[in-house]
């Protein structure tokens, strides 16, 4: 598997979704040992008990979020850490790192953009009783994948 796929186009916009999907698939395969593929969002409504966020600034300005259930977040942490016991802090930490790697992998695939785009440190929210409003008012793309038969949503929102 290649982790050096660059999408060189005049505009990256048309490639955002496939690049995001590829970035997600690589992170799950390399760090969690799982092959995941996008599924129809209408049939797999994602749960938002855990939400990890990474801000993008510079050439790309916006936010990448990863939303999943508490059970999925815990399973991801266990997969990352092997047999190690995972505390609530480690579950949040693991999901934040997954979001961080997806964001980094995504921007590294956009030739000419990676040099001029910075990432924030991750933020992780637990609990569904919140509303998230991004100041990014431009294009948004989302992919939903099945991890251990449960939906995980990865969303990119960009400022126009």
């Amino acid at each position: 598997m290649s982790t050096d796929t660059s999408f060189v186009t005049r505009s990256h916009e048309e490639n955002w979704l496939p690049v995001l999907e590829l970035a997600v698939e690589e992170v799950f395969e390399i760090m969690l040992g799982c092959r995941v593929k996008p599924v129809a969002q209408a049939e797999h409504a994602p749960n938002s008990e855990f939400t990890a966020m990474i801000g993008l600034a510079g050439a790309l300005c916006g936010v990448i979020t990863v939303c999943c259930s508490t059970k999925s977040a815990s399973q991801m942490a266990t997969k990352m850490l092997g047999d190690a016991a995972t505390s609530a802090d480690e579950v949040s930490d693991a999901l934040g790192e997954i979001c961080n790697m997806i964001a980094g992998n995504f921007k590294n695939k956009l030739a000419g953009t990676d040099e001029r785009c910075m990432l924030s440190v991750p933020t992780v929210i637990s609990g569904e009783e919140y509303s998230l409003r991004s100041m990014a008012d431009g294009k948004a793309v989302e992919t939903v994948l099945l991890f251990e038969d449960a939906p995980v949503a990865v969303r990119l929102e960009l400022q126009s």
Partner: protein, 128 residues
Amino acid sequence: MDKIRALIVDDSSVMRKIVERSLRQAGVELEKVTEAGNGAEALTALHDNPVDLILCDINMPVMDGLEFVREVAKLDGVKGVPIVMITTEGSESHVVQALSAGARGYIRKPFTPDQVKEHVLPVLGKKP
């Protein structure tokens, strides 16, 4: 291979554990592992914990990895210690900045144990 003392610098405790596990999977025998959550903590840790290898993230609060590498280069007794960056920042400019500052290796996240082996063993004078 002789046992080595490693310093792992990353603001994610999960990632520090993964890096340590990857080192062991690469065949690196660890006498002691010291952890730090950012560059400033790592500089403090180096006062009391001599190390043979440093693995360091770039994007961290308080002091980032590039500044940490530049600070290490000023410290007598530590500046010769090999540093390998492990980071999501994969751009050519970050690689150049890190290597210019004194890092000896660069691994992009996500990474496999084989990539750790490939980049870490050579800086320890071993064949991957």
